[in-house]
């Protein structure tokens, strides 16, 4: 049996750019509100209330459908999806469906992602508009540890897009890149601020080597998606290795513990009793609306990548990574325009900045505050003037991202590369006097030069640029040799 990994995603994104919820006048920004204060009779599902569609949601969905190359349906049809759960005020969710002559807002589509320089097409199955549920709050954070649960309906009724892919991913990395790209597309479209807590959630289904399919719910970010899937692959392969079988089941990703656990909720699939919502007559999606949205589509990640690669001369790979996050790309363009050297800036952002964010799980917005355009510009200047070496520059980035250190302060503390040649000449003289044997070795064998360079670096506590030190020593050896 092969161990080919097959992964599909179901992504839920809140349309955070809408002012109000999907079917009532409550604010779609429920965050930081006292529990159960962002509610009304409609989103609480009181007896006798009726939903009225926030029609702006159609425009947002159409924009997403266009960006994902999906086929837009002729009308919006809502259905009721039934299941009992305390966070669902009506015990049904107003959603969409694709059977029995019913249609989601859009079907089909594709997103091209760049995986280590190779491009890969991910197929989209469908896009739904639906309402979000309330939130269940466990006082002890987990179900099992808590004696009771609290329910906050502030989120209930917020507009969601559900974007479902075909099972086109072959690795956790691919799934992660797709989710990043999707988030970036939604950011560019001004549909969603995916950096908000809970604004983008993914469910992944994964099967290995054609074995049973496992669904993983409750994944909150691209980073967690990669981690959860990697964990799940290891878990499943261990079971297989020890002779066990993989059960078809639903599991939950517990971010705090870095693992997936079996979900206690019963599998409900197939018993949702879908039927068209009689309170919401179908609404046609007019050609005019589609054309209007299409004509005002902003620049999207793919075309932006082409543009910045050319405009800043940074190479296709760098560009493709930068556009995976709109804010990151905005940060790049802003900084590059302010202080030049786009190649260095893109390299810092892609190779250093992102790495530290990921390693320490720091939100991008925090990272950008710490490695602000201002600080980034100064770093570039220090480097260009030779005040810091490339090695030290990387260290500065790390300190800025992880510890919010200001490069100016670091320079003031004297943590700099010693660029002044006179100072270095003095130190080299010292090293030569202290190590006559090494000098004569180096005269015979050019490889032994490294010892002398190391000694200089040690005296400068690593602040010297090794390239410059190297040059000075070679020059001095030539002088010695001719004596």
């Amino acid at each position: 049996m092969s161990d080919e990994v097959v992964i599909g995603l179901e992504v839920h994104v809140q349309i955070t750019s809408l002012r109000t919820k999907l079917f009532c006048g409550c604010s779609s920004n429920y965050r930081d509100r006292p529990p159960n204060t962002n509610v009304c009779p409609v989103c609480l599902g009181l007896p006798g209330v009726l939903p009225v569609l926030n029609e702006k949601a159609i425009e947002k969905a159409v924009a997403v459908a266009l960006a994902l190359n999906s086929k837009i349906s002729e009308k919006i049809v809502f259905v009721r999806k039934h299941y009992f759960y305390p966070d669902l005020p009506k015990n049904y969710q107003i959603s969409q469906y694709d059977r029995y002559g019913l249609v989601p807002v859009a079907t089909g589509g594709r997103v091209v992602i760049d995986v280590g320089g190779l491009s890969k097409t991910v197929r989209i199955r469908r896009i739904n508009i639906e309402e979000d549920t309330g939130r269940i709050v466990y006082p002890e954070k987990t179900v099992l540890g808590s004696k009771y649960a609290l329910i906050d309906y502030n989120r209930a009724g917020v507009a969601l897009l559900e974007i479902v892919t075909e099972p086109d991913f072959r690795s956790p990395r691919e799934a992660r890149i797709f989710l990043e790209k999707l988030a970036s597309i939604l950011e560019h479209l001004d549909v969603a601020d995916t950096s908000l807590e809970g604004a983008m959630r993914a469910d992944a289904n994964i099967s290995i080597g054609g074995r049973a399919r496992v669904e993983i719910k409750n994944i909150g970010s691209p980073r967690d998606l990669e981690k959860a899937l990697s964990y799940e692959i290891t878990r499943q392969l261990n079971i297989v290795k020890s002779g066990g079988t993989i059960e078809r089941e639903t599991r939950h990703w517990i971010k705090e513990r870095g693992m997936t656990v079996p979900s206690r909720a019963k599998e409900l699939e197939g018993e949702y009793r879908y039927f068209p919502d009689p309170d919401l007559p179908p609404i046609p999606i007019s050609k005019e609306l589609i054309e209007r949205v299409a004509s005002s589509l902003p620049e999207l990640p793919d075309s932006r990548a082409k543009r910045i690669a050319k405009e800043y001369g940074i190479g296709d790979y760098m560009a493709s990574v930068l556009v995976l996050n709109k804010r990151l790309c905005d940060h790049f363009e802003h900084t590059a325009r302010t202080c030049g050297n786009p190649k260095l800036i893109s390299s810092i952002l892609v190779n250093e900045f992102l790495r530290w964010l990921d390693e320490a799980d720091i939100p991008l917005s925090t990272g950008i505050l710490r490695l602000s355009a201002d600080r980034l510009c100064k770093l570039v200047q220090y480097f260009e003037k030779g005040i810091v070496s490339i090695k030290l520059l990387k260290e500065y980035v790390r300190l800025a991202v992880l510890e919010d250190k200001d490069p100016d302060d670091l320079v003031r503390q004297g943590i700099t590369t010693i660029g002044e040649e006179e100072e270095l000449e003095r130190i080299v003289t010292e090293v030569f006097e202290e190590n006559p044997k090494a000098v004569s070795d180096a005269l015979r064998d050019p490889k032994a030069i490294n010892f002398l360079v190391g000694q200089v670096m040690r005296k400068t506590k690593g602040r010297a640029d090794p390239k410059i030190v190297n040059e000075i020593i070679r020059k001095r050896l030539v002088e010695y040799g001719s004596k």
């Binding site: 009779p41 609480l44 009181l46 007896p47 029995y100 009771y148 329910i151 018993e271 309170d279």
Partner: protein
């Protein structure tokens, strides 16, 4: 003709909306003696009839009257005491749907129709008894008590809006609101000798009507006079942005259709299947007499076959129960309504207890059947098929109304049953609605108007027509009303 509860008192208690309005405009203080009079009827007869679930305290109503007179907002309903079916949301007044589930539920908001009634100068007097969640045709399915028929206390007033119809018939209110999903306004109107109108689907906002079957439900008026029903309809109809199924039409001057002559030489159809087997002979006699009277006005009457109408009841019950099972899912005792101790119990356990204790037998039956027909693998055979037949029925009606202006039938095939006579036999119970149900399936307007009496029991005539033909219906109803005097 009014039942004894009215005539035993002075003429005041049976005043029409217009007469009351004129008297109040002339002499504002008259409103106070009118209110006293109506409360006298209630005090005397309500303990027997039990038309209400909640009667507002007289002092509160008198205060509302005072405020109304002070505001000088003497609109079309000035001073009218409106009884409201207990499935219509009234802010601050308990709205129970005659269910244990909502026994103590006090809504925080008014239904759109309630707002409109208040703006027109009407005063809510109380909330009326009904079959639980409007599921039933006799008002015996109330979780609290049955309402009796004012004409014969051993008989049912019809349902599910039986409390509203009985309150109006017995002069315990000026007029009332009911709701009609398969005949729930017309059947009680027929059994209590009142006039009840189910509007075109979408003409009256459903915002605030506790849903039974959303694609069939409509709120409508019940009155003692055709004119009262016309005035009420004018007040409550018209587009409401809070209801996405509300149609973008303006309210009409329905009162102008209530004249004693036909405003058009109506071509009237009688659908043979509605007057064939199962219709009581005495009821048919009253119906035929009504047809003769209309013909004497120079109107033509023709009989037509419409075989598909036989499928109305099964189609209705599949669709209504499917929608009901969905609409009633929200009652879990968590946010409002019947509450159960949650501590130490799983939420599923709490839900089970709440729903087992909160719902009555008929409600459970319909939820179960509705859940069944929506299940995976059965949906296409039941719900989808029913939806298709519904469409065919609609098209058949459209064809009929190309040839005819209106149609007539007996509202109910039989006279009001005695208490307990039909309640235990669902099929018999459901057949009471055989002539009213097809109307809801096609979204048509229809009314029931008294056509005569048999042994002291009223017989209702159903008049129905194409969408938005309410004006014509009221005109013909007025002709039948005049003839009946």
């Amino acid at each position: 003709m009014f039942p004894p509860q009215c005539s035993q008192n002075s003429l005041i208690s049976s005043l029409s909306i217009r007469a009351l309005r004129e008297k109040v405009r002339e002499d504002p203080d008259f409103l106070f003696s009118y209110i006293e009079e109506i409360y006298k009827v209630i005090e005397k007869h309500e303990h027997q009839l039990r038309a209400y679930i909640t009667v507002r305290p007289k002092e509160e109503v008198l205060r509302d009257a005072e405020a109304l007179l002070k505001s000088n907002n003497l609109g079309p309903l000035a001073g009218a005491l409106i009884a409201v079916k207990d499935n219509i949301s009234t802010s601050g007044i308990r709205t129970t749907c005659a269910s244990r589930m909502l026994e103590s539920y006090i809504p925080p908001y008014d239904a759109t129709v309630i707002t409109r009634i208040k703006n027109a100068g009407g005063i809510i007097i109380g909330k009326t008894n009904m079959d639980e969640f409007a599921m039933g045709s006799t008002t015996e399915n109330s979780a609290f008590y049955p309402t009796l028929n004012p004409w014969d206390l051993e008989r049912v007033p019809g349902g599910s809006s039986g409390g509203s119809a009985a309150a109006v018939a017995a002069c315990e209110a000026t007029a009332a609101l009911g709701s009609d999903t398969g005949g729930s306004i017309r059947l009680p109107a027929a059994y209590t000798g009142t006039v009840g109108l189910k509007p075109t689907y979408g003409l009256v906002s459903r915002y605030g009507l506790v849903a039974y079957a959303s694609s069939l439900d409509q709120i409508g008026p019940i009155g003692r006079y055709v004119e009262d029903v016309a005035i009420m309809l004018e007040v409550i109809s018209g587009h409401d942005p809070k209801d996405s199924t509300s149609l973008k039409v303006a309210a009409k001057d329905y009162g102008s259709y209530v004249v004693d002559r036909p405003i058009k030489t109506y071509r009237i159809a009688v659908i043979e299947e509605m007057v064939e087997e199962g219709v009581d002979r005495e009821v048919m006699a009253v119906f035929n007499k009504t047809l003769e009277r209309l013909e004497s006005y120079g109107l033509s009457v023709e009989f037509r076959k419409m075989p598909i109408i036989r499928y109305s009841l099964p189609v209705y019950y599949i669709i209504a129960m499917a929608e009901a099972s969905s609409n009633l899912a929200r009652y879990d005792g968590l946010r409002y309504g019947l509450a159960q101790e949650v501590e130490g119990r799983l939420w599923t356990e709490v839900y089970k207890r709440v729903r087992s204790m909160g719902f009555g037998k008929e409600v459970k039956r319909r939820i179960l059947l509705g859940t069944y027909v929506l299940s995976e693998g059965l949906y296409e055979g039941y719900y989808l098929k029913a939806a298709k037949v519904r469409r065919l029925l609609y098209e058949e009606f459209m064809r009929l109304f190309k040839e005819f202006d209106l149609a007539l039938s007996p509202t109910s095939p039989i006279l009001p049953p005695r208490l307990g006579e039909v309640i235990d036999d669902p099929l018999k119970l459901y057949s009471l609605d055989v002539n009213t149900v097809p109307i809801n399936l096609a979204g048509l307007p229809a009314l029931s108007v008294p056509g005569g009496f048999i042994r002291g029991l009223p017989v209702g005539i159903q008049v129905f027509g194409p969408h938005f033909s309410e004006g014509w219906l009221l005109n013909v109803a007025r002709l039948i009303e005049v003839a009946g005097k």
